[in-house]
């Protein structure tokens, strides 16, 4: 493993913040080493400084992609903490459906965005909630959109195949049997759910107004890796991308106090969601 020199730490942490938004302070040098060493070696670089240099010069952006895939953590579960999905099922979806079907009863359009979809579990969980709640979807046009910065995560999300350790935590056995097919040690999401969702690569540090407005945005446990300044920018942009009567769900240990005054917190049972003022 290539050792990181103290003088390189600032350079690398700044480079990673530039390409991913993720701020890793210099105490995380082990993380640079364990996650980037093999990329540096494969690129024939003797130091991390060289790797950053080579990545910046690389017109194909291949090295940058590899670094993004290696640094972004993909810790995500189906129905990770049940709160947000119960909130979706019992509060947010019924309200959004009422609002939107009053506007367009024959074809009710609802747009949902999983803004840091990682390997797809959150968005598939949302799709399962919708399927369970509505059964008959023909009067509705749901857009379930997932984005993530990592190509590798998007690829896995699109494929929808998970090993049993990834799946058994959080997912009820009933849903597992109903919506997944067993392949050896892995489970693959069935086409009826797969067909409801779309994934696309997106860096949340970049502008995303072109995605249009969403009725519901999930942006959980990603801004925690950003600096306060970047967090402020992100939630301000999310406010722009949320319909005026839309709903924002963030991670259960996150807070928007001091981050974005455009949102107001509301409580439903044991969960919190945000709406625009």
């Amino acid at each position: 493993m290539i050792k990181i020199a103290p003088a390189e730490l600032t350079l690398i942490s700044q480079y990673i913040q530039t390409i991913t938004g993720i701020y890793l302070d210099q105490s995380k040098s082990y993380l640079f080493e364990t996650r980037l060493s093999s990329i540096a070696e494969a690129q024939g670089c003797a130091s991390y400084q060289q790797l950053v240099h080579k990545s910046r010069q690389d017109p194909s952006k291949k090295i940058e992609k590899d670094i993004i895939d290696a640094i972004t953590t993909n810790e995500t579960l189906f129905f990770r903490d049940k709160g947000p999905f119960e909130l979706l099922q019992h509060k947010i979806l019924p309200e959004v459906i009422d609002l939107r079907s009053a506007q367009a009863p024959l074809k009710t359009r609802i747009k949902i965005w999983s803004a840091a979809s990682s390997t797809g579990q959150e968005l598939y969980s949302i799709a399962i909630v919708i399927k369970e709640l509505l059964r008959e979807l023909s009067n509705y046009s749901f857009t379930l959109f997932g984005t993530d910065i990592s190509d590798a995560a998007i690829a896995q999300a699109s494929y929808g195949k998970y090993n049993r350790f990834e799946i058994e935590r959080g997912l009820d056995k009933i849903y597992l049997q109903k919506y997944f097919t067993l392949f050896g040690d892995s489970w693959k999401i069935k086409d009826e759910i797969r067909g409801m969702v779309n994934f696309k690569k997106l860096n949340l540090m970049q502008p995303f107004t072109s995605l249009g407005k969403f009725d519901i945005i999930f942006c959980r446990n990603v801004a925690i890796y950003f600096t306060l300044e970047d967090r402020k920018k992100l939630f301000n942009k999310l406010a722009d991308s949320l319909a005026d009567d839309g709903y924002l769900v963030i991670g259960s240990t996150e807070s928007l106090t001091g981050v974005c005054p455009r949102f107001v917190a509301k409580r439903h049972l044991r969960s919190i969601f945000y709406q625009k003022k």
């Binding site: 903490d81 049993r164 807070s255 106090t257 917190a265």
Partner: protein, 189 residues
């Protein structure tokens, strides 16, 4: 690493006895079953880490069925199939159903012990990952309820402040009344 508990299933009394003796001698905790039916009963009444089963057994419950029953009862049980050379294809098909590994007859015990230890190691790592997960979930639950309570308090206070500001900025109300109203709101919050 905890000594894994093993269920060995084989209808051949010689092999069954051999498995039991060799595994015991190597200090594994082992129980045996003479066919799929007995194996099913034992799986439903005891907890095992690893099931070692012959692929071909008389009756409706063969090795594949033992595998399916074991996985249904507890997906964390690992199953090693013992198979004749001629049925390797079946064993590979069984791996697709979640079998962990297969061994060809005649059983090479050194190889078997290595595989058992590997599985036991993996199960130990898995358990500590689960322990960490539980610890993390607990911390996260406490943190999230604290943060959410604070978030709602801040929201409430902000709301009060906004109302107080509106009152104090009103033009045609005497100061003492404004202060009185403001104090009422503070008392409420």
């Amino acid at each position: 690493m905890k000594n894994p508990s093993i269920l060995a299933v084989d209808d051949d009394p010689v092999i069954r006895h051999l498995l039991e003796q060799r595994l015991k001698k190597a200090h594994y905790r082992v129980q045996v079953a003479e066919d799929g039916y007995v194996a099913e009963k034992m799986l439903r009444t005891h907890t095992y880490d690893i099931v070692l089963t012959d692929l071909m057994m008389p009756g409706d419950i063969g090795g594949i069925e033992v595998l399916e029953i074991a996985k249904e009862i507890n997906s964390r049980i690992e199953v090693i199939l013992i198979t004749a050379h001629s049925s390797v294809d079946t064993a590979v098909a069984a791996m697709k159903k979640g079998a962990c590994d297969y061994l060809e007859k005649p059983i090479n015990f050194d190889e078997l012990f290595l595989r058992i230890d590997k599985i036991a190691n993996m199960q130990t790592i898995l358990r500590s990952a689960q322990d960490l997960q539980v610890a993390m979930d607990t911390t996260e639950n406490v943190a999230s309820s604290t943060i959410q309570n604070l978030e709602m308090q801040v929201t409430g206070l902000q709301n009060s402040l906004d109302r107080i500001e509106n009152i104090l900025r009103e033009d045609h109300v005497p100061d003492d009344i404004k202060i009185h109203h403001a104090l009422d709101i503070i008392a409420e919050s």
